[in-house]
Symmetry: D3
Subunit: 220 residues, 6 copies
């Protein structure tokens, strides 16, 4: 399962991040994945002052987003990182790594998240492409929106043909490691939220019993 | 989880079984569990003609019982067996075996079932006692009712003090081996049956998606 | 994961099935799912002689298809059924049931399969729509091709606007109940088939050890 | 499985807690579960000085209780909270939530614990009622005793008719998330503790091998 | 875990099998594994009359062997096959396949079994070598003995230098797919068999509860 | 699975540890396992200054060892402890405990590790003996080498007959609790490291997808 989430960032936050990106130093993206020759992009230099700001703005937006929480059951979110694709740049097919080095312990990356920061009309190409079956899914969201997908899914960023693609990316460790279990509990919780108040009290409580039991068992 | 189910047999069926029992030969219950010195009861001689009849009457009643099906998800049910406890007889604490020898393959006993055939006012003692925690649960149902409980739970039949206790017992292999998963799916199915028609179509279908997914996964 | 498989049926087989359909009696599709008011289609009358033929032609084609076997690990395949959608007909959002009644035991439906029998240019609408995330996937394959997808996924057939949509549908019980495990073993087997002969013998055998161990464990 | 544990608190500790309760401020219990209209009780105001004391007394008693440790395999115990039920008060059927907000990370509530602080002769009604099957289990323990049960089980507190019911409640995260596995390891450990010294050394070590292997596997 | 089992065949049965082998036709072993260039051995021609006899003698011996049953929990055993290694013959490193084609359904090979039919003094080399870690385990049992080991383990037969190595091989589907669970239940059952009679009745029944619960759960 | 790892310590580190051991105080090994009468060895007094040094030297050597990391997926390693066996000393059959008391939380011991510190020619007996099946595996490695094995395996140290056996022992908590899963991922990672560069990019990425997915799932 993947999910596109609208308006994760306010227009003001998007502008703030674009501004940081304009003045920031970017380095070769292969720094964080040196063994992948198909990675041809830029990422913000994490030693500059703007990096901390850019990371905090996105992290706070994710923290306050209820859809993201209901869908991903986050326990840890990696510091978001600005990435830039100039014309000709791309990121070939790959899964994300299962674990990211992080203090005090490595973060298990269950869900990957891309937050779009450029108006899709301002660049050609650059679609995030997720391979969930025999039909690729191409995502190019409005600035401020996000897309989340299972980290170990094979995905790629198609070559940017014109313009520039600015995104922030991050990785989420979920309470629920199994993607299918996570989706089923999400769906059951949504049904309960939308229909629970119409139910007889006893039935509603029986549904609570099922939901909390699954949540407990699957977060084991 | 255990469940008492009322009126599994009709009064007519109860009378028929009592009648078979009256004329049948019974043998020492230790035949089917020779290593348990605390088993002191009688079971119908499976070589007599009445045995087949008694077994079929109970099997058909269980097959048509919807509550039993919803609660146990049966795939196979062992031929029910008449058992008799005269005064002083009992069956000490024990779990039932995980597998029963049966053709063409052994039956995995997930759920045990006792069907009561004697009016509880007609005998003293003889309570089926299930140990699910620090407080024993004593069951002595009306004639024609049944009780089902997890087979490997420790349980016992207390000594009969006066009168005679006639029961039919059987063992059920379930689609769902894990007791907790079986109970959760049962509960979710009950909620869907009682509340589903009040839901918006899309929510009802999402609930179907969860129910069928769990059923498939847990019957693996 | 879902997969489109080209040329499951030969053009000759497609013609044969179209011909059977032309002369066959069709009945209201709600026969096999009476509780779903959004099901508005027709299915072949299983009492007519053509039904057996139509079912056998498709079943044999599926049996000989290697891609289908590598992707689904089938243990049982339900008899395929011809379904027809005239203009205005559709099948609303729903998951397929976890179990189908079948002799001698119910079939667990892990993977659903639609085989297209009409040239997609000959009808408008009628797309099979699979909901795997926030972006629906619309499939309308060439005559003779198939698509397989997890049975408990929510899917629908959009209304046919013009022309007629003829398909054969069936349900597959897999050795591997978990969709993710099935996909991982499929992928590992594909890598081994494509790259194994280039490997050193010992490494190839270590990969065999992993593949056979996963196959054994996940078919438990 | 549930378990009643005698004499968790000394009579002196019970008196100390009753004394704290007498002078403490209590607030509406719906503060910690605002969406449950059937919750009608009082809980100690956690901002008052007595709260810390009351919590520490109970926490220390639980920490030193060997039966509780053997049965629940605790890794974290939430700060115990005094709750009071005056006549007419009750807490309708509900499961406890799977996770409690707590620093630095949420606590997964596997086992719920009620410690009784009022002599059962001093109030009518107010039984803690656990629904483990078709027969409710009513618990009303002596002051100083405790009862533990799976958190996501449906349970309730029946209306208090006369007198006042004072309890302390808490929630335990276990090493072993699955209730059945926890019970089996507890039982195997008890058998080993009671019978191990009578065994031949090699058999005793083989039993250790099984116990430690299960403990490791099930705490994964 | 692997296990050597002494005296599976009687000396008389060994002689009978040697005799069958002397007059039987053998074919190139690559018939049953054509893709393995390191397989250089002979196997009995399954079309000759002696094959059925040789298979039945070994199958009956395995059926009556209690150690084998306690250790492997067999549900199906493939027809045993005579294999012969002349000087220079060997079978390079490989795991056995997870599934064997067999009627009516494929047999899942959980445990592989070699029954030795030649006096070890009568041939040099030919050790069955199991790779369970960094130290290979070489097995060359007396005629009539057997060795069982997990099928997907990498193993090999070292080249025979002098004499001839005659064995019968077969493959066992177990009730318990997971090797570790199978070993733990075996060990617990052995402890119960050796120490159970010395235990207090209640403790013995609690141990039965654990054993039968694990057997049920792990045969799911 | 067990593994012997050569040259974990440099000759210089071995000498340093031998020197610390010569001047250190040792205490009766039963301090850390008082209930095991078969434990007859000495362990370094953890209150002396040399203990910290000896522990740090070994811990650093394990931290830098890539083979150990690839094979055990360590998350925590207990402080290594010097142990000494004089003539006549031994440690009878036992498994290691599933959990070690440690701050801030107990360490789950998945893998046990012995680092040899004495030239094997300098003592007779004292073999570490691992019971993985019906054939014990005796390990007596060169000074500076290590052996790792599953903690709950039954193992023993045979009596030292002459000379002195000095070892350092420690316990490793792994990301992957299940020994079989850990071995399969280790093997798949080794194959990928040795053969990945020869593969077509897409196949290599599909293999990455499988490896990272298993790593994520099995570290859940």
């Amino acid at each position: 399962m993947f999910m596109e989430i609208a308006q994760v960032l306010t227009p003001e936050e998007v502008r703030r991040l674009q501004e940081i990106a304009r003045s920031a130093t970017f380095v070769d993206g292969r720094i964080s994945n040196p063994h992948n020759p198909t990675k041809q992009n830029l990422q913000v230099d994490t030693r500059i002052s703007g990096y901390q700001d850019s990371s905090r703005v996105v992290a706070e937006a994710l923290q306050r987003n209820e859809v993201l929480h209901r869908f991903t059951f986050p326990v840890r979110i990696a510091p978001p990182l600005l990435c830039k694709y100039a014309p000709g740049m791309k990121y070939g097919r790959h899964p994300d790594a299962a674990f990211l080095p992080m203090q005090p312990t490595p973060l298990r990356s269950d869900v990957s998240c891309t937050i779009f920061l450029t108006d899709p009309a301002a660049y050609e190409g650059g679609e995030l492409t997720i391979h969930l079956g025999s039909r690729p899914i191409l995502v190019k969201g409005p600035a401020g929106s996000a897309v989340v997908y299972p980290s170990t899914t094979i995905h790629e960023v198609l070559p940017v043909r014109t313009g520039e693609r600015l995104v922030s990316i991050t990785f989420i460790q979920s309470q629920i490691v199994d993607e299918k279990q996570r989706e089923l509990l999400y769906t059951l919780n949504e049904v309960a939220a939308l229909e629970g108040l119409n139910m007889q009290w006893d039935n509603r409580m029986r549904l609570e019993h099922v939901r909390h039991s699954l949540h407990r068992m699957w977060s084991g």
